[in-house]
């Protein structure tokens, strides 16, 4: 018989609070080192791109923000499905907590993309498929936040948000493949899961540093949001009251 004990543990906010507390420094410290180190590396120690010049350095913040915004949405949609299927409270908390972080990173991707577009394409904004689908991702995140706040009943809010999060997940492959499916000012993906990347290794290494740093940063901040939400929801339980009283 399969041992499902590990799975049930994830249903306990108390267990998760204690477990995540041990994870925090292992996420925060590497995240900050990789982000700061990768940015300094990319800003000052990588040669300029032969076509774009120095404006290409925006890649070291734009691509990680966009990639993690999409990854964060997939995590949120997965948590939404887990909540709908197993009624797991923790999954609803993760879903709710991921939304503001994802919204902030999507905003960052749109902002840095616009700033990068001006010297590269000669315009701040074009309604091409990639940018428009990322804008839809931003509105999906904002919609989830607004929808959650619109309900007084927490369970009803979680169910409605879970449905929206799952339906909205269809936008993620559209964002990813938009540059292949439609005419776009964006170039096709330079980093490939299958096949050789088309970005030079000297430019790729700092990008991998900031990309992994951004994923760790997302994990760190998500845990901070989730832990705050757990305390708020469980404030009347004995374990939380013992925790805040220092007993």
């Amino acid at each position: 018989m399969a041992n499902w004990q590990w799975f049930h543990k994830w249903g306990s906010p108390r267990w998760f609070y204690q477990f995540s507390g041990r994870l925090l420094p292992w996420l925060a410290i590497p995240a900050l080192l990789l982000l700061v180190g990768g940015c300094v590396w990319g800003l000052a120690f990588v040669p300029a791109d032969f076509k774009q010049g120095n404006s290409f350095r925006i890649i070291y913040i734009h691509v990680p923000a966009a990639a993690v915004a999409m990854g964060g949405y997939m995590l949120m949609a997965t948590a939404a499905a887990v909540h709908l299927i197993w009624r797991m409270k923790l999954a609803a908390i993760v879903m709710k907590s991921a939304a503001p972080i994802g919204a902030a990173l999507t905003f960052l991707a749109l902002l840095t993309g616009a700033v990068w577009g001006k010297p590269t394409w000669g315009t701040w904004w074009v309604w091409d498929a990639r940018i428009t689908s990322v804008l839809i991702l931003f509105f999906l995140y904002l919609g989830l936040i607004a929808l959650h706040q619109a309900f007084e009943n927490r369970d009803a809010a979680a169910r409605a948000c879970a449905v929206l999060a799952i339906v909205g997940a269809v936008n993620i492959p559209i964002i990813y493949w938009s540059v292949e499916w439609w005419y776009s000012l964006h170039q096709p993906a330079s980093i490939k899961f299958v096949g050789e990347s088309t970005i030079h290794p000297t430019m790729l290494r700092p990008l991998m540093a900031t990309l992994s740093g951004m994923y760790l940063f997302f994990g760190w901040v998500l845990l901070l949001f989730v832990r705050a939400e757990i305390i708020e929801r469980e404030k009347n339980t004995r374990w939380v009251q013992a925790l805040v009283s220092g007993k």
Binding site: F45, P47, N54, A104, W116, V221, F225, I231, E232, Q241
Partner: protein, 61 residues
């Protein structure tokens, strides 16, 4: 460093304003996320502490 001096690093052949604005705004947004998460944590703990005090007071009477 690929730039001869700090002045060149700052100007980046005219792309400096775009590049530095992008990194500065990113730093602000990421810091804001950390501060917001900590603020929520502090607020939640304050609420829980108030609930604990209420329960203690109820138990005394």
């Amino acid at each position: 460093m690929v730039f001869a001096n700090l002045q060149q690093l700052w100007q980046m052949d005219g792309h400096g304003p775009y590049v530095w604005f992008s990194f500065a705004s990113s730093a602000i947004v990421l810091c804001a996320l950390v501060f917001e998460s900590r603020r929520r944590g502090r607020n939640a703990r304050a609420l829980a502490a108030a609930a604990a005090r209420r329960r203690q007071a109820e138990n005394q009477f």
